[in-house]
């Protein structure tokens, strides 16, 4: 990524603790526009907490204390007045798919409707486009009225991706999306993400080192709430890592 690329997300000195227990320890990193940045690291490294700080879902965790800043397009997210508008700019996909208890169509139309977009023809177009983008449309086009919660796990995960795209977000955060998904679906979603990076900036938290290698432009290693190393994939997945632990983690020697 060249130095001229625009910084989409700027994180500086971000620390989070839950009831005194440190989850993130002064993380500073930038995410460039239209890149895929992947974050790898063992369980409990603070990866999910990091994502929760970007869309301020951290607010809903009662005993969380946040320090430092997260800026999107130069604006501090914690100064944002309308947190719902902020969240509409950031698509979020969780490890376990959560289909909302409503029809497939309504699942995808939910976010635009809540944002006040109710025009039927526009919604129809949008729902179809999002379902196509998430490679689900062909499987569900004849049963859009069925419950989203009754789809299989892999289909539900693609439904949540379609839902995340329905807000036409600038940033897409995925948190270990492949945990509940079969390998074939995982590959299909990976293809989708490669397509999407033309339009959105993607932060991909993954427990699969090979997934980071396949998809990302740059990869960051988190360990015990600290950023160990962040560099281009070329460096991270080579012997030339700046930190010995990165090499070891990528090689599967610990974690």
């Amino acid at each position: 990524m060249s130095d001229l690329a625009k910084k989409k997300i700027e994180v500086s000195g971000l620390s989070v603790s839950y009831g005194g227990v440190t989850a993130l320890d002064s993380i500073s990193l930038d995410v460039y526009e239209h890149e895929i940045l992947s974050i790898i690291g063992p369980a409990n490294a603070g990866k999910t907490t990091f994502l929760n700080c970007i869309n301020r879902m951290i607010d809903s965790i009662p005993d969380a204390r946040v320090q430092g800043t997260v800026k999107i397009d130069g604006d501090d997210v914690r100064q944002v007045r309308d947190v719902n508008a902020l969240r509409r700019r950031i698509g979020m996909v969780f490890p376990l798919p959560v289909g909302l208890p409503m029809s497939i169509y309504d699942n995808v139309a939910y976010a635009p409707r809540m944002a006040g977009k109710t025009d039927k023809t526009r919604l129809d177009e949008l729902v179809e486009r999002c379902l196509r983008q998430s490679a689900l449309f062909d499987e569900v086009k004849d049963r859009m009225g069925d419950l989203g919660t009754k789809l299989s796990g892999g289909q539900q995960q693609r439904l949540t991706i379609a839902r995340a795209l329905s807000m036409e977000p600038e940033i897409l955060c995925l948190d270990e999306f492949s945990i509940a998904v079969d390998p074939v679906t995982t590959m299909r979603i990976e293809e989708v993400l490669k397509e999407l990076r033309k339009e959105v900036t993607i932060v991909l938290v993954t427990n699969l080192v090979q997934q980071a290698k396949r998809l990302a432009d740059r990869t960051a290693l988190f360990l015990d709430g600290k950023l160990i190393e962040l560099d281009s994939n070329e460096i991270i997945f080579s012997r030339r890592t700046a930190d010995q632990r990165t090499f070891q983690y990528v090689q599967g020697l610990f974690g």
Partner: protein
């Protein structure tokens, strides 16, 4: 291995599995007996009421006012009075209780104030109804000057049923998975949009069940209405909430203990009508719950 030579030893019972089987049988027998004992008084009550009271249930009994010092005529004003009382108390308690339940479950921060409120609700639910009656006299009849009226009695019943309505509303809301709320917030929906579009549609059966069960409880109470609005005998029907009224539970108490020369079947018949009313509400609630559960979406 050809047919007929199949080995059975692997699945035959050892002394240990036989012992656990017999323990299982004993446990099952005791639990079954406990359930049967539970049903016994229920059937006994219904049987008693039907055998003693059925003969008195006529169109006249249901549709006319008592006459000749309660020893003849019917219980129509009491039926209407009970409907007034539960209607008005429901109109007060249901909206307040449901809204408070929503606030406590969806909005209230996790701190000591909230914990104190929750503790107060649990304790209020355990206050005896006669205490609510005294509170009703003091607060509504005297302090607010509402006098002995349907309004005072209904407000007293509302205060009595509120804690349980709040608690059952909270419980119904809490049964909706938190993951749905998180997914909705993440999509930029506000808290209220999430409650209205996700949480309430999926908890309405539980909320309504809790409300209706409290309605039938209110219908059967005597103490809270005795000093606040229920009349011993009224020759006319109430015209507004400022009037007093008769009530089934109060009437049952009256004809059982306060008036001489009442036909033997009258108290039983009154109780039978009250029980039928309550059971009807409960069946309605069960039906509603079954209907809404069947439409459950996850």
């Amino acid at each position: 291995m050809s047919r007929g030579e199949t080995e059975h030893t692997d699945f035959s019972a050892t002394p240990m599995t036989e012992a656990s089987h017999s323990r299982q049988k004993i446990a099952r027998a005791f639990l079954g007996i406990a359930t049967a004992l539970l049903l016994l008084p229920l059937f006994a009550i219904i049987g008693l009421l039907v055998t003693h009271g059925m003969s008195a249930i006529t169109a006249e009994f249901l549709l006319e006012a008592p006459t000749a010092g309660m020893t003849a005529g019917g219980i129509y004003p009491a039926i209407i009075g009970t409907l007034w009382l539960i209607g008005v108390s429901l109109a007060v308690a249901a909206p307040i209780g449901i809204m408070a339940g929503i606030y406590l479950n969806e909005y209230a921060p996790e701190n000591w104030v909230t914990r104190m409120i929750n503790l107060a609700i649990v304790n209020l639910a355990g206050v005896p109804s006669i205490v609510h009656a005294l509170f009703g006299v003091g607060a509504f009849v005297l302090f607010l000057g509402l006098g002995t009226s349907i309004l005072s009695a209904s407000l007293t019943l509302a205060v009595m049923t509120l804690p349980v309505i709040i608690a059952s509303t909270k419980e119904a809301l809490a049964s909706v998975p938190v993951a749905f709320r998180h997914a909705s917030w993440t999509l930029g929906a506000s808290r209220w949009q999430t409650i209205w579009h996700i949480v309430l549609p999926n908890s309405v059966s539980g909320i309504l069940t809790g409300v209706i069960l409290q309605v039938s409880r209110a219908a059967g109470e005597t103490a809270p209405i005795m000093f606040t609005g229920a009349a011993f005998y009224l020759p006319f029907l109430p015209q507004s909430v400022q009037d007093q009224c008769m009530a089934l539970s109060m009437h049952l108490f009256t004809v059982s203990t306060q008036v001489p020369n009442v036909p033997e079947a009258f108290p039983y018949a009154t109780a039978l009508v009250l029980l039928t009313l309550v059971v009807t509400f409960n069946f309605f609630s069960i039906g509603l719950r079954t209907y809404l559960r069947a439409r459950r979406k996850w």
